[in-house]
């Protein structure tokens, strides 16, 4: 073990101690009107020290441990396959996607209400991830504050419904457009920044929006959120037991069937499905259009793209705006599904999850992103006992992923590294 490694490991262990002692070891307790600081149980301190030791050992022997990890057998059957030809691939992808959509159409009629509800959430994440995929996967702009636009969409609907009684269908385009507009306004000054700087600034934006929502109590209700957001209607038919809005009829009465709470859940699911499909199709269209190629070109080589006359700002801004637009779309659906929203739904963790979906999916490939959205949303639900460790499992999955398949599940293009022959 090199001395350098040792010092690095020691440093990491000390950092672990410095960070975890105040966070885990000290508790604030409210005693009457006073707040007092109490220490945690001895076992917590023991655990902290053990953690620091673990960090030390790992960092000290990091190279050999990572080497071992790399030697683990790769369970991914696709890992060593030669890449498919592009045109064949696109066709296959289309078929699989169609298959998934058809399956998804019948799905809600055979499973439980809870599953349908979860599937709606998956679809919302699919929309979000498809949108972020444009920004990160295609245009190569690392946006860590994507959830801000999701929040704009959701709050637009919530506020408009509260103050003007707007319906879901009216709010959908307004929420998306407003989110897109926010993206454009926020994007304009920051898109000059590159790489890490852009990531940090967008992270800041995400937090600013959340903090704004949290503190502008007169408008947004602050941490209490906004409730009573209406559900979507079907041609003026409501899905509740009783009709809330004047002029509307109720679904079960119109069709002369018994009221069932499931109708509403399934209807919401189907709307989310249709919107997710629309999102996928529109973005697919963009990818084939010149603007889609411009995103890729700018990501691959900024100087080359600019020297061909592409305007850096316009190209980046278009990706940012389109991404934000679909986040707003998803946000409106989310608000309608929940009926109640608060800033808590729009924390940084959400941005991180959406980004993880895009990265896991393989940066750019739509099918990959959709599969990853399903996996990331459903797996934690399946392992509910472990739900507290969700993030831990997530982190471990990401690490394994980077060891085995750094290009994601289904990368859009395989990256070939070959030496250029000299003639």
């Amino acid at each position: 073990m090199a001395a350098n490694n040792f010092r690095h490991a020691l440093f990491c262990a000390v950092v672990t101690l410095i960070i975890s002692i105040p966070i885990l070891g000290l508790n604030l307790e409210a005693k009457g009107i006073n707040i007092i600081l109490t220490g945690a149980k001895t076992s917590t301190y023991v655990a902290i020290v053990l953690a620091a030791v673990a960090v030390f050992v790992f960092q000290a022997y990091r190279d050999s441990i990572m080497g071992l990890l790399g030697k683990l057998p790769n369970f991914n059957p696709l890992a060593d396959k030669e890449p498919m030809e592009q045109s064949k691939r696109v066709k296959l992808e289309s078929w699989i996607l169609t298959g998934i959509v058809v399956l998804a159409l019948f799905w809600p009629f055979v499973v439980s209400r809870g599953s349908v509800d979860l599937a709606t959430l998956v679809l919302i994440y699919v929309m979000l991830a498809l949108g972020l995929n444009v920004v990160v996967g295609l245009a190569g702009l690392l946006d860590l504050g994507y959830v801000a636009f999701y929040a704009v969409g959701a709050y637009t609907f919530a506020l408009l419904s509260q103050y003007t009684g707007i319906s879901f269908w009216m709010a959908l385009p307004i929420g998306a457009l407003l989110a897109g507009l926010t993206g454009m306004i926020l994007g304009f000054p920051v898109l000059r920044l590159r790489g890490d700087y852009l990531a940090i600034v967008t992270l800041g934006f995400g937090e600013i929006i959340r903090i704004l929502l949290n503190n502008w109590t007169t408008l947004t209700g602050g941490p209490n959120g906004i409730g009573g957001i209406p559900e979507p209607t079907l041609f003026g038919m409501e899905f509740g037991r009783r009709v809330k809005e004047e002029g509307n009829t109720s679904f079960h009465e119109t069709f002369g069937i018994a009221y069932s709470g499931e109708h509403k859940v399934i209807f919401l699911y189907l709307i989310a499905l249709v919107l997710a499909v629309i999102t996928a199709l529109i973005i697919r269209r963009f990818m084939r259009m010149p603007v889609g190629r411009a995103w890729e070109a700018l990501r691959e080589d900024e100087i080359a793209a600019r020297s061909l006359g592409l305007s850096r700002t316009a190209v980046k801004l278009s990706a940012f705006t389109i991404g934000a637009f679909f986040a707003g779309f998803a946000g409106t659906v989310f608000a309608s599904k929940q009926g109640f929203i608060s800033p808590e739904s729009f924390v940084f963790l959400e941005s991180a999850i959406i980004l993880a979906i895009v990265v896991l999916g393989g940066m750019g490939s739509q099918l990959g992103v959709i599969l990853a959205a399903i996996a990331v949303t459903i797996l934690p639900e399946l392992a509910r006992e472990f739900s507290e460790y969700r993030m831990l499992i997530f982190g471990a999955a990401m690490v394994l992923m980077m060891v085995w398949r750094p290009q994601g599940l289904l990368p859009m293009r395989r990256i070939h590294i070959t030496l250029n022959k000299q003639e």
């Binding site: 190629r293 411009a294 006359g309 850096r312 070939h416 022959k421 000299q422 003639e423």
Partner: protein
């Protein structure tokens, strides 16, 4: 009739001045070569014409239009194309996709025409049409970079060291193509380390030393100039 004029151009990278008042003129239909040692500022000069970075003082005039303060996107859409230093092809895209990027602001039928023309100049590219550009040989990549620049049907093309790192046979091919471009009426502004071949081909040449033009004459005279021979032609 001048195609491109630089008048007393100064260019800065932050506080450092890389060009100290450069004046260059390229006439329509000419091949003009710019030679100079590493770090003399050749790339800087070419990129200043493209507006990346912009000149901090002086004037850049393209076909009678003052482009000194125009953004790159506007300059590069007005009949000017560049083959940048180090080729900078889009290695993840196929050869054909690369060419299409070159014709980004042209109509479909124009693109089809220019593509056929590029394949005529470089039959090798046609063979590799669907190959990912990053997997091609250095020579092929350079051909692609030139082909991509030609896609926008420019009146003037700027080339920054197109022979860099290539074998003699490929270099010969590239220089032949450059000569051919002049016959098509395209004005060429060429930067080269390969001073001998560059001056041989050029109508006129400039010698740049640490951000200043030291000499300027016809290609032939520069080849015979003892100072140039000593410094750039290996004595």
């Amino acid at each position: 009739m001048s195609m491109l004029v630089l008048e007393d151009v100064h260019t800065h990278y932050g506080k450092i001045e890389a060009l100290h008042g450069v004046s260059v003129e390229v006439n329509k239909g000419e091949i003009v070569s710019l030679i100079g040692a590493n770090g003399a500022g050749k790339t800087t000069l070419l990129m200043t014409v493209c507006g990346m970075p912009q000149a901090s003082s002086g004037r850049v005039v393209l076909e009678g239009r003052d482009i000194t303060h125009e953004p790159t996107s506007q300059i590069m859409r007005s009949g000017l194309a560049i083959v940048p230093e180090g080729r900078r092809i889009f290695s993840g895209l196929t050869v054909e996709e690369n060419l299409h990027m070159g014709g980004f602001f042209n109509t479909k039928s124009e693109i089809r025409k220019s593509q056929a023309h590029v394949y005529e100049l470089f039959p090798r590219l046609k063979e590799r049409e669907h190959q990912r550009a990053g997997t091609m040989s250095g020579g092929e990549q350079q051909m692609l970079a030139i082909g991509r620049a030609l896609m926008s049907r420019p009146n003037m093309i700027i080339l920054d060291e197109p022979s860099l790192g290539l074998a003699p046979l490929v270099i010969k091919q590239i220089f032949e193509i450059i000569g051919h471009l002049r016959e098509e009426g395209i004005t060429v502004f060429l930067v080269e380390q390969n001073a001998h071949q560059a001056l041989h081909l050029a109508d006129r040449g400039y010698v740049l030393e640490t951000g200043k033009i030291r000499l300027h004459d016809t290609g032939k005279n520069l080849l015979e100039n003892p100072d140039v021979q000593n410094a750039y032609l290996g004595g």
